[in-house]
Symmetry: C2
């Protein structure tokens, strides 16, 4: 298909597609004449991925490059996938110093993670910011929130196993990277909807 | 204290404090001379809140204004708080059309929310984006993820009740608004840490 048809198929305007091409986020089509090129399904999928990462995932061009780089070089084990995914898209505060509080929390939860791994540092940074913004957040509350988020993580891993079994390691890596970025907004929206539901249920009670 | 001391107390540079003042995000200090003003605890708290909203919450100046506006006019019931908080900081896609899928999901979960409320629309938008980005996300998976996020919402509301009992309605509203924005990153980081933990536990098994 021509670039105008690629725009039609993805809903992304031609000038944005040209921008993706210039930035190396979209691979060139097969050249058919001096001014035209031919695009296929692989281009449609790539455009959708890039748009989802930028618009919903809220990551910049550098972040998209990091994700695409990670997808191009899948590691061997699922545990390495996680590391690659976390490295490709570090959360804010991932290189902050590790806080003793997070160490204690993780220990108390019985979570066997590497001390000082980037998500644990990011957790410390997020806790500090929340408190500075005026959210009272004690140790018991953090423990309480950790329980449902662990359930979420188990669902995440079950899905990765399923995809690995049918689509192989590169499909599984793709899911880990993209599932982290693109499911965050789904989880956040579920939290908000559930708040409405829980609040409505109490108003009635 | 002088503006330089306010900078020292909050870790926010003087030029950024002046920017907050110009944008109306920080209330003026008490004028003490033609070029100096006096700042107090209320200014320290405001600066910390604004910084947390911008840096960790990732919201722009307009979003901060909306939050501050909502905080200045607390509604009466907790259920109204939620509406005010959601309106002050709408999630992306909050005005997209309501999808029948989200209606079904909410119905199946027994969640009594208003049809077409902004978070439900945002949920539909987030689901669409995730799928477009290549995340397989079926009805059963959404139902499964909804369960832990409902537990999170119950913890959220319990905390609001607690704060309302001790600090009154305006403290409770503050918590609803700020707690939504500033706990999202904590939850996301907990999800990533829990993935590491769950993955490490399986590698060992």
């Amino acid at each position: 298909m021509r670039i105008s048809e690629l725009a039609g198929a993805t809903g992304v305007p031609v000038h944005t597609l040209k921008y993706y091409l210039r930035e190396g986020l979209l691979m060139p089509g097969e050249v058919t004449s001096r001014t035209t090129a031919d695009y296929g399904t692989v281009h449609v999928e790539r455009v959708r991925l890039v748009r989802a990462l930028i618009e919903q995932g809220g990551i910049g061009i550098a972040g998209v490059h990091a994700v695409l780089g990670a997808l191009a070089a899948p590691p061997r084990s699922r545990h390495e996938f996680l590391g690659a995914a976390q490295a490709a898209l570090p959360l804010p505060g991932s290189s902050d110093p590790m806080t003793p509080e997070v160490d204690d929390l993780v220990h108390e939860l019985g979570w066997a993670i590497e001390t000082g791994c980037p998500p644990a540092r990011a957790l410390g940074a997020a806790i500090r910011s929340a408190r500075e913004g005026g959210v009272p957040l004690g140790h018991d509350e953090l423990l309480a929130y950790a329980v449902p988020m662990h359930e979420v993580a188990l669902l995440d891993l079950a899905k990765v196993d399923e995809v690995a079994a049918t689509g192989g390691p590169s499909a599984a890596l793709r899911l880990v990277v993209i599932g982290n970025v693109l499911l965050d907004p789904v989880l956040i929206a579920l939290r908000r909807v559930a708040q409405e539901a829980a609040s409505a249920a109490r108003e009635k009670a």
